[in-house]
């Protein structure tokens, strides 16, 4: 059980694919203009990641290590195709608004990274847990970034949620404030870079605060940082 807990902490926080490993930045920055898009892409990535980790883990003893990368890519590509066709069938609006970024999940380094670093060395169950946690961690970052950009950009939340969840979800749309002119920067890729940087900074701040608290709780006095404090 403790191994699974460790996997969860790694995937969701300590080794978060979005915030710490900085993998899969391309979709992360390109499609997080609204929270709906972010959730949609996050869910698709999570599904592919789960499938690929399980499949890679199952075939890990039958694949010669020289050809493992092409095999992983084949597995991932077929799973992406499946997800793409599913989205085309059931969430067509979202499929259209995500566009090229669904097939591009194939090139998401987070997925092949987990296949290579974890699934190819571990049994099926831990691999599946790892995939779920990493996928959730990635989705979490996407969602936070998507929410921030949507609020700043157009003052709404869950705009277009019906594309993902069906027509009942139109009631989810929250209008926080309405403005005549949208803050375009938040919706453009540069805004995504700025937002991403701020979220990483926030995570680092929380980490260093936690570390300080831990040090105080242990009773050891954290040495004040001396260099660079020329005042």
């Amino acid at each position: 059980m403790s191994q699974f807990k460790e996997l969860a902490i790694q995937g969701l926080w300590k080794n978060n694919p979005g915030l710490v490993q900085l993998l899969g930045l391309c979709p992360l920055l390109a499609v997080t203009a609204t929270i709906t898009n972010a959730l949609g892409l996050g869910a698709a990535t999570l599904l592919v990641l789960l499938g690929s980790n399980v499949a890679v883990s199952m075939v890990r003893n039958h694949v010669a290590s020289e050809i493992r990368i092409p095999v992983f890519v084949l597995i991932i590509a077929s799973l992406v195709t499946v997800v793409q066709l599913l989205m085309n069938a059931y969430t067509f609006g979202l499929y259209q608004s995500l566009g090229i970024f669904i097939p591009l999940i194939v090139t998401n380094c987070a997925i092949i990274g987990r296949a290579e670093a974890f699934a190819s060395k571990n049994a099926v169950l831990p691999s599946a847990i790892d995939a779920i946690m990493m996928g959730l961690g990635f989705m979490l970052v996407l969602t936070v970034l998507g929410a921030a950009r949507e609020i700043l950009g157009q003052g709404t939340l869950f705009d277009g949620a019906d594309l993902l969840l069906g027509s009942w979800a139109k009631v989810l749309r929250i209008e926080l404030f309405s403005v005549d002119s949208h803050f375009l920067l938040a919706m453009l890729p540069p805004g995504a870079f700025l937002g991403m940087g701020l979220i990483i900074a926030l995570k680092n701040t929380i980490d260093s605060k936690l570390k300080q608290k831990e040090a105080v709780a242990k009773g050891s006095i954290a040495r004040a940082r001396v260099t660079g404090a020329a005042q």
Partner: protein
């Protein structure tokens, strides 16, 4: 006996950062006065809003970073950024434009990079680009000079316009932009661009009342005022002559060649030198000591690069004026420029002789 070893530069002109920043702000004053007299009091309200926002943002971030607040506020650099941005945006832009812009300039572009002296980009220009890209409508609402207005604007009207987008008597900015004849007027650069894209020649476009002598009416005087302020700064050795001269010379030469090659579609050098933000940018913004090139040759290259970019964007790009983009792009090139123009240490031979 001990030897005191000090690193270069060994010659100082004994001015503190605070004094230099203040002198640059003072040198802006003639330009601001002319702008206020010819285009209305909007610019003064923007200045006030910008300076207040800049002080608050600077104090806020310094507190977050556990740095002393008052000494940094006193160095006037935040105020200078605020002043430059307030001058650069349209004088009747809504109040939140300048607040967002100044806060972004101070917090993101300056303090997050480590504060004064560490920013890669010119804060005022980065904020200008942010605003121009995010709010294209508000950022292009320039009014023609007061003398061409069909409605007179009182100082109270200026306040109303900035805060509500309607003057106190209820005229919207779009109405104010319209002349007595019902023709919408923009800046000279804007008018020229629109006319040329409609297939008019330069001479035909020149019939519009926004043009005067060889430049835009109103804009000519604003540019002359900034030119005067800039010359004082050079005289006081606050800024080096190299950057402004290189900017103006490269813009002049390029547009002269272009005007000779295509006299009907490309405006001449004098129009370019005295339109839009040329003098303000050349003397006050491009010379920012932090984000500009530092070597003597490097400054000439840096200035010439800005001139070239402005010429290209103004004539062939998508925006009527181009200083913000040109300066940011040149800022990016600064490390490279400085690397290749590093002077030889005194006593060493020139690079060509050592081989």
């Amino acid at each position: 006996m001990s030897f005191k070893i000090a690193s270069s530069p060994h010659q100082h002109n004994q001015k503190s950062t605070s004094q230099i920043m203040l002198m640059v702000i003072m040198a802006c004053l003639p330009g601001i006065a002319v702008q206020a007299a010819l285009f209305g009091y909007g610019v003064l309200i923007q200045l006030l809003l910008a300076i207040i926002t800049a002080w608050f943002s600077e104090a806020f971030v310094l507190r977050l970073r556990n740095k002393p607040v008052l000494p940094r506020l006193k160095d006037n650099s935040a105020m200078l950024t605020a002043v430059l941005l307030a001058i650069a945006i349209p004088p009747y832009a809504p109040w939140w434009i300048i607040v967002i812009g100044t806060a972004f300039a101070i917090i993101m572009v300056k303090q997050l990079y480590g504060g004064l002296g560490n920013n890669l980009f010119n804060p005022a220009m980065a904020a200008y680009v942010l605003l121009l890209i995010s709010f294209p409508v508000q950022m292009t609402q320039w009014l023609p000079p007061l003398s061409l207005h069909s409605v007179t604007l009182t100082p109270l009207d200026a306040i109303c316009s900035v805060f509500t987008q309607f003057s106190c008597s209820g005229f919207s900015l779009a109405q104010l932009q319209t002349s007595v004849d019902g023709i919408t007027m923009a800046t000279p650069l804007d008018t020229l661009r629109t006319d040329l894209s409609r297939g008019l020649t330069l001479d035909e476009s020149w019939q519009s009342p926004v043009f005067f002598a060889f430049a835009g009416s109103g804009w000519l005087w604003v540019n002359l005022a900034y030119l005067a302020g800039g010359l004082v700064l050079i005289k006081q050795q606050v800024i080096s002559w190299r950057i402004p001269v290189a900017v103006l010379a490269s813009l002049f030469v390029l547009s002269a060649i272009a005007a000779l090659a295509a006299p009907d579609t490309l405006a001449g050098p004098l129009f370019h030198l005295f339109s839009g933000g040329t003098m303000l940018a050349a003397f006050f913004i491009a010379t920012d000591p932090v984000s500009a090139a530092t070597t003597a040759t490097g400054r000439l290259v840096y200035g010439a690069l800005i001139g070239l970019l402005v010429f290209l964007i103004r004539n062939f790009g998508g925006y009527p004026d181009a200083y913000a983009f040109a300066i940011l792009l040149a800022n990016m090139a600064v490390p490279l420029i400085d690397h290749y123009t590093r002077p030889r240490t005194y006593g060493h031979r020139a690079r060509s002789q050592t081989k």
